[in-house]
Assembly symmetry: C2
């Protein structure tokens, strides 16, 4: 997979959960939304079309797994939002976000809406355990 | 595939391109962004996890094809944005949007940003031809 390094922007905004078959999974540091970020460990990938067919199938599996992890965080989830944007951080990554009717950004997208509300340490520790268990990490 | 009907919200905001193996493809009626919407023709699907593995593989292929169609519309595309949200219209659908540095919503998401600027008839006719050709429709 070459020289994969997550963009420093991810290190500042999320916590590492671990490595799946394709992606590094991370928990977004915003307690308002159950939110997993998947970063394919493929050097220089920016768009989905930069992945092989085999890696696209792995990514699909990992998006479904991230949805289960989001639900495992315990908050009400009325709708999953899945997005690959990358306008600010072009390294290919996929957001999987659990949305709840009436959450701060509802019904708009979470991206760019408002500053994150970071987890407190004890809640973060529990969230990491729950998300890793759901992802088999 | 059961009784598939696109939600009326799509009829008001986009133009039908045609049916791919899985999805009805539509051109979003916003001349500011080259933008294809894919709606899996699967009754009652709301989340990606509601699709079979075979349909998920088809959807992946069709997302890549929609990216090619977006590029075929002729505008500069600096980044593709792919999103399955559904907070407003929960019928499962995937947006594939070509983004340009400095476009009206850049670098934020297009969803919920500002009212669409509909195509004029002649430009629309050309866009439909280009998008259908790229999709093999």
């Amino acid at each position: 997979m070459g020289m994969f390094e997550p963009d420093p922007a991810f290190l500042a905004t999320s916590h590492e959960l671990g490595d799946l078959a394709l992606c590094q999974a991370r928990l977004q540091d915003d307690v308002r939304y159950p939110w997993v970020v998947l970063i394919p460990r493929v050097e220089a990938a920016r768009e989905l079309e930069d992945l092989s067919r085999e890696d696209l199938a792995r990514l699909t599996d990992e998006i479904l797994a991230a949805g289960r992890a989001v639900r495992a965080l315990g908050a009400q989830v009325d709708k999953l939002n899945v997005g690959a944007l990358g306008n600010v951080t072009p390294q290919l990554h996929v957001h999987v976000v659990g949305r709840r009717v009436g959450d701060p950004a509802w019904p708009g997208p979470v991206w760019g809406h408002s500053p994150a509300q970071p987890y407190e340490a004890e809640v973060l520790a529990m969230a990491l355990v729950s998300a890793r268990a759901a992802l088999g990490l």
